[in-house]
Amino acid sequence: MGMSYDAATPLRNEVDFELSGPWAAYWVAMLRVLTGWWFFHSGVGKLLDSGLNFGAAGYLQGMSGTTLGPLATFLAGFPDLLGALVPLGETAIGLGLMFGVLVRLASFFGVLFMGLFFVGNASFGHGLVNSDLMGMLLFVTIIVFAAGRYYGLDALIERTEFVQNRPRLKYLLG
């Protein structure tokens, strides 16, 4: 409360962004768990249906003319690796978010996935702001707010001596 009044950023005057309010902590945790479930469901479904042989290369190859074309076609050159990494990655991102472990690292890869979906799906029939973009924004939000610290295991992990001695790890945790 000792802060001086800052008219440009009114939130700063009252919300010291430790997210101390119980509602803020509750909702940031809910966003994390529900976003995590979204990816976990997608990854586990692929694992159960096609194991480590998910066919992602064709989709990426089809993105050749898009903004992320060079990245997508480069990735499409590794179909076997992708067949395993896509389902495992989605599952791992989902588990990380649901349990709150390495949330910022997991969300970074979530942004990568959703960036490819946003550009690749190109479902712009209702405008550029679509659910793919919203999904990407959720991951960014989770990174910015360090959502793993609220009812997530990252809160405990960050208190360990190992992390305390290596504070840069908090950019991957949290």
């Binding site: 409360m1 997210l19 509602w23 809910m30 529900l34 479930w37 469901h41 479904g45």
Partner: protein, 102 residues
């Protein structure tokens, strides 16, 4: 601002809305995922468009749980407008009357 004060209404609204959301999305979703096709909430159709597998849990039940969670938040919001948190003023002195602190 976000108040650290929580009363019974806050706790009830958080627990009930959170529980309903997690039940409607995650718990029922886990059941749906693990018990075979379809793994999502939509039926599986063959090439002819015929439905060959229905979801185990009616998606209407799952969406009803999600809508119920939002209704809990709406009821809480209306209650909070009617009965604001008794907070403190900006100078830190106790407010002399009810003062919305959120």
């Amino acid at each position: 601002m976000q108040s650290n004060d929580v009363d019974l209404a806050d706790r009830l609204a958080i627990a009930l809305s959170g529980g309903l959301l997690l039940l409607g999305v995650v718990v029922t979703g886990l059941i749906e995922t693990l018990d075979g096709a379809p793994r999502g909430a939509a039926p599986v159709t063959n090439d002819a468009g015929e439905v060959i597998a229905q979801p185990t849990i009616d998606p209407n039940i799952r969406t009803a749980l999600v809508v119920a969670a939002l209704l809990v938040l709406l009821v809480y919001a209306l209650y909070r407008v009617a009965v604001p948190h008794v907070g403190t003023t900006k100078s830190g002195e106790p407010a002399t009357e009810s003062y919305p602190s959120d």
